[in-house]
Symmetry: C2
Subunit: 250 residues, 2 copies
């Protein structure tokens, strides 16, 4: 399994193996790693090599040692609370990541049936499409695919270009806050689990078949839908959370 | 691809092929099927066979014809709104499915570190574990894995056994409503996308690697955590939704 013919030192190969197993969820977040002794026999390496690999994996944030108990896989997911609206930058900053955003594509074209129906346009009317890739420490984390009626789209894409040129990280929601006249007052969202197809895998730099959290949003202003957004988050890097009071049952 | 040597008629094999492609998301929900003409050449069958297969697939709810446009893959996901608390039975009834619940396992054991920490127990204290499988039309849809302090656990498991014996469908939240004295007044939840490992794949009767929506909940009563639940929903059968007013940005 490890390459003993030279190349990378064994402890570095072991760290790479840990990373591979954690990213593929063979070792799931929150789970316990095999004991040091078992890691020695699993990979046929010395205790010193195992300890050095765990040291490095801990510094990289992959795992966490709990004294007297063992070593656990860290959870690398950003958490976004659904009862607040935080900027993309602030959400990533929680995990110590530097956010950045790149514009993947921008176009105006005839809307497809699904988009037209959500935005309440005729099937032949044009829509503005804006595709963004949100990154944390330069690694792709989310792909935003947004559609707007063209009047709103013109404002949002202009704001996206300004933010992009200024090197400011943003999601479309951040643009409304900072630079667009028509701001939404209502947000409907749906949360689904899917797996990455070839297209998404390419955009998010993960292998095909990895879990993706898909969040479909309709933002509206005084009852008029102004944005239809499909956001695909890497499942291993994102979660959404909600804290609420329950109604009395009895 | 189709078996022409007898056995199932071609149109029935074609329906099975449609189902296979839809379940594997090769034909994703909301996507358009190839045209009738293209289906004929893809599967080397007559137009009559294709039409008959689409008729059946439409009756089964797999696809939906849109006049003059084409045939689209139906979305088979149940939608559960996060701003209301609906019973498991009612959520499934939306899609015309008959809900049922089976008790997969029930036990009292020493809590693991993660469970003890969430329930604010000592690591050596016992916890009650209740595992349920929720079904729609007898097909597994969700696996609930719940942990309780033993006093609450005794009440909840007794209520689960009564509901099970009576043949009533339920989630643990339904049990609180109907039959448990200690009802939660607060619910914290996190939503994540994962893929099915061998264990989950077996429980939910899907192939390994299929998308799973994992919802982790902590239910508490006057600040005391009374249940820690990890629910795993089939990604192709469930979504959560939320509709909310946005704060003024300016």
């Amino acid at each position: 399994m490890l390459d003993r013919a030279g190349g990378l030192p064994l402890y570095a190969q072991l760290v790479a193996t840990f990373r591979e197993r954690i990213e593929s969820a063979e070792w799931p977040a929150g789970g316990q790693l095999p004991s040091e002794r078992d890691l020695c026999s699993l990979f046929d390496v010395s205790r010193i090599t195992v300890r050095r690999a765990i040291d490095i994996a801990e510094k990289e944030g992959l795992v966490k040692r709990v004294h007297g108990v063992g070593t656990f896989v860290s959870d690398a997911r950003m958490e976004q609370a659904l009862d607040r609206v935080h900027s993309f930058e602030r959400t990533l900053a929680q995990r110590g990541l530097v956010a950045s955003t790149t514009i993947h594509a921008m176009s105006v074209s005839v809307s497809d049936l699904a988009v037209a129906s959500v935005l309440r346009l005729e099937a032949s009317e044009p829509v503005t499409n804006l595709q963004l890739i949100g990154r944390g420490d330069d690694e792709p984390i989310v792909f935003y695919d947004s559609f707007f009626p063209t009047d709103v789209g013109a404002d949002v894409t202009a704001a996206a270009e300004r933010a992009g040129a200024a090197g400011v990280p943003f999601s479309t929601l951040d643009l409304y806050r900072d630079a667009v006249a028509t701001v939404p007052d209502r947000l409907e969202q749906a949360f689904e689990a899917i797996v990455a197809d070839r297209f998404l895998a390419g955009l998010l730099a993960v292998p095909e078949g990895r879990p993706i959290l898909r969040v479909t949003s309709v933002m509206s202003r005084e009852g008029r839908p102004i944005e239809y957004r499909r956001a695909c988050y890497r499942g291993d890097r994102y979660r959404f959370s909600l804290d609420r009071a329950l109604p009395a049952f009895h």
